[in-house]
Structures are given as C-alpha cells and as structure tokens.
C-alpha cells in the first residue's frame, strides 16, 4: 500500500507538471493561430498615383507580406448611371490606384506609425490608411491573450515547483533510512540512489505517456471538435515525434533533477 501511494504521488506530480506544460503549448498554439487570423483580417490601405512594386516595398518595410490592388471597378460601376461615359473614362484614367498591404506579423501602434511614415515618404503615395483604432483593439486583444497564457504558465510553474519540493521532502523522509543503511554496507552514491532513480524514471515515463495519450485523443473527440468550432479555434493535433519526445525528455529531466537533489541531501545527512 505504501509502495502504491509512493508511486502514485510521483505519477501525479509528474503528470500535473507535464499536463500543464503541454496545456500551455496548446493554448500558445491556439493563440498564435488566432493571432494569424487577426493578421489576415487586417490590412493597410494605400492610395498611389503610380503602380507599387511588392519587392521594392518589402525592401523598405520587411513586415509587408503581400500587396494586392483593390479594384476600382465597383466605384465606377456605381457612378455609371450618374456620369456620362466620356467623363467616366476620364475619371478612370485620373483615378489613383488603391492597394491593400497585408502584414506578416501583428505590429504594435508605434511600429504602425513608422510603417505609415515610411509609406508616406514614397512620392507616388498620396494617402495611407492604417485603421489604427481598429488595429489597436485587435492588438490589445492579442496582448491580453498572450498575457493570460504567460500568467497561466507562471502559476503552473509555481505549482509544479511546489509539488516537486513537496515530493522531494517525502522522498527524503521515505528513502533516508534505506539509503543510510545501504551506505553502512558500502553502497556507492549511485547504488544507493539507483532504486529511487529507476522508480522515478519509470513512473515519470508512464505519466509522460499518459499526457501524450490525452493530448492525442482529446482533440480528436467529436465533442471537443464541436466546442472548438463554436469558439472558432483550431485544436492542434499532437505531434508524437516532437512533442512526445519533448514531454518524455522533460519527464526524465524532472525525475533526474528531483532524485539527484534527494540523493545529495541524504548523502549529506
């Protein structure tokens, strides 16, 4: 019974740590996905008397991902009934070109101002509309989401550290006597700690596999997918090779550090 509870406590603390770590990754991925959606929805509109070249603009403003011309056909169509065809043809020649600039990332207000200034220095550009107010709202929303993720990560890290410290105290209490007796019979540092290392590595490996299985299965459940669709977010699928390796690696590092602290502390007693 004592042995089961000992295994369970290691499993739980490791599971909580890895689960939260992966949860943070999932949230980050969702937030980044959401941010890219915001970026896609946002554009700077430029009015130019001459044709603008994408490469040339990108040289000056690296944030620009693409540039597309806004067709003036719709405006002209609306004026068709009110103007003569001759005047309409003249207007069509005189009408400046409208461009929509898509950005690769979401810049802050200051950066938007700089981009606007840079665009304004180009002689052919007569007007730049950044929709700064709308953009600022979106950007603040994005910052809020990011901040929430970081705050969550911070609290999770604190809880994980507390759990580890508590577990270390339990381990010291549980293994001190055994390791001291083994030392009296000439066991080396690693021999004394081997049992604890083995037990912890196996338990943390099981917990890591449990976390991997959870994040692999849950996003595929119809209920989770329906909920995500309602929130207009995409649940990232679990990458066994990369994320699985990171989680298993992290579990081993967690086990190794915790057990080494215990072994060192007991060694000094």
């Amino acid at each position: 019974m004592k042995s089961i509870s000992s295994h369970f406590s290691i499993f739980i603390s490791s599971f909580v740590l890895l689960f939260s770590f992966q949860f943070t990754n999932v949230i980050k991925s969702i937030v980044n996905d959401y941010a890219s959606k915001i970026v896609n929805d946002y554009a700077i509109v430029v009015v130019s008397s001459a044709e603008l070249k994408e490469e040339e603009l990108q040289k000056q403003i690296p944030e620009i991902e693409s540039i597309s011309e806004i067709s003036s056909k719709k405006i002209l169509d609306r004026l068709k009934n009110e103007m003569s065809s001759k005047n309409l043809a003249l207007l069509q020649v005189a009408l400046p070109k409208f461009y929509s600039l898509k950005l690769g990332s979401l810049p802050d207000k200051k950066r938007i101002e700089t981009i606007k200034q840079k665009l304004s220095t180009i002689t052919s550009i007569s007007r730049v509309e950044t929709f700064a107010k709308t953009h600022e709202k979106m950007f603040k929303m994005f910052l809020l989401l990011q901040a929430m993720v970081y705050i969550f990560t911070f609290f999770v890290a604190c809880i994980a550290v507390l759990l580890i410290l508590k577990q270390i105290r339990i381990w010291i209490y549980e293994h001190q006597r055994r390791m001291a007796i083994m030392a009296l019979f000439g066991a080396s540092f690693f021999m004394k700690s081997a049992m604890l290392y083995r037990m912890t590595l196996v338990d943390t490996l099981i917990s890591a596999l449990g976390v991997c299985a959870f994040y692999d299965i849950v996003p595929r459940l119809p209920l989770a997918q329906a909920y995500a669709a309602e929130l207009d977010v995409v649940l990232p699928s679990f990458d066994w090779l990369y994320e699985g390796s990171v989680l298993i690696g992290a579990s081993f590092v967690f086990a190794f550090i915790a057990v080494s602290i215990v072994a060192r502390k007991i060694g000094r007693v």
């Binding site: 030392a183 009296l184 019979f185 000439g186 080396s188």
Partner: protein, 223 residues
C-alpha cells in the same frame, strides 16, 4: 596483514574537543574473537562506530583491514565497508524490503549475481532458522527474529571482520544462543575476526577470546 584492527592514541567523539574515547590502543589479529565490555554510556558503541567509519577519529591512528583512516575518502570507506559485517543494536533492517532482500543487501552491493545472492540468503536464513519467513517484512518479525536476520545479513558476504554492537541485548535466550553460535561459527569455520560490544560475556561460549574493558573513556586490555 598481521592485524585486522590496529589503533594507537585514538581519540573519538561526536564533538572535536569533547572526546568520548581518549588515547585508545588496540591490536586485533586475524581470526581473533574480541569482546569490548563496559558500563552503559562508557563509549562501547562509539568504538564500534569508529571501526566501520560512521565516526572518524579526532586524533590518533586507526587501521582497519589494512585501510588507514587518516584522510580516508568516501570511495575507500565504501570499499572497506564491503569487507565488514556489521550487526547493529537497533538491527537497521530496511523496512520496505523482505527478509530475503535484507540478507541479500551486502551481496547486491558486492556485485554478486542474483542467483548467488538468493542461494546464499537462503543458506544463511536456514542457519538462523528463519527460512520460513523469507518473504516477510521486518515489521512482521519479533525483535529476536529481526536480530537473527541482521546476523544473517552480516555474514552473507563472508566478511573479513564482523562488528557486533550488543547483538543479544534484549533478546530471548533462544535467539541469543543462535547469535552466539553463528559468531562462534564464523570465527571457527570461516576464520572471521569478530569484535563484539556487550554488557556481559556469555559464560558458555567455549572459545578463546580477547577482552577489552572500557571505563571513563579509557580502553584497558583485560588479561
């Protein structure tokens, strides 16, 4: 190696400037059976602790099984302890290990194969008449049984030197007899040197022995 234990001008204590044992001299040859007696609190256990390196001498020279205790490192101390069989007053059995696993401990540390460990543990548990309790845990045994397990563990790896701290204190006469017979057998059949700290030397032991008496922190050899 003429002497298994050689000590001269030995000062031992828990505090550097408050020695429990002062200026102790001891010369114990291989295969000798030695008793260290003395009143409670005279420092008998302190001497035993210094012999297996739990307490290092504050002053003087100590050599156990050819290992000089001056500037002894942890790896050297670990190596020495693998050649010693220690019986503790409080048994020091590992609670979460079975009787069999406890007896196997010095063999596991010595790097013996699992088969050898099991065979030797069974042989010794048969000697101490506890083969039927092989899968029990220490807390399921009586004090006498626990001490017999501790005795089997001390003998498991055929040590050069057995150090026994009050091995029969508070034991029933049956367990005491088993323990004394094992210690006697270790000396006679295996050629092991035995150092026993005790209150009383059993009158029916029937072997030659050396006797040290400890009084006021001073060790006297009794002729």
């Amino acid at each position: 190696m003429e002497y298994v234990i050689k000590a001269s001008g030995l000062n031992i204590g828990y505090e550097r400037d408050e020695p429990v044992i002062t200026d102790a001299n001891m010369a114990i040859k291989a295969q000798e059976f030695v008793f260290i007696t003395g009143k409670s609190g005279s420092g008998k256990s302190t001497i035993i602790k210094s012999l297996y390196g739990e307490l290092l001498p504050n002053h003087g020279e100590l050599n156990v099984c050819g290992v000089d205790f001056r500037n002894i490192g942890s790896s050297k101390l670990n190596l020495l302890r693998r050649y010693l069989g220690v019986v503790f007053q409080d048994y020091k059995l590992i609670d979460e290990w079975t009787v069999e696993q406890n007896v196997m401990l010095p063999l596991i540390i010595g790097g013996f194969s699992k088969g050898v460990c099991i065979k030797q543990a069974h042989k010794l548990l048969k000697h101490v008449k506890l083969l039927h309790k092989i899968n029990k845990y220490p807390y399921e045994l009586s004090g006498g049984e626990q001490q017999r397990v501790a005795m089997a563990r001390a003998l498991a790896h055929n040590p050069i030197l057995i150090l026994a701290d009050e091995p029969t204190g508070n034991l029933d006469s049956y367990s005491s007899e088993v323990i004394w017979n094992l210690l006697k057998g270790a000396k006679e059949h295996l050629g092991t040197t035995v150092v026993v700290v005790t209150h009383n030397i059993p009158s029916t032991l029937g072997i030659d022995y050396k006797h040290y008496f400890l009084e006021g922190g001073v060790l006297h050899e009794v002729n």
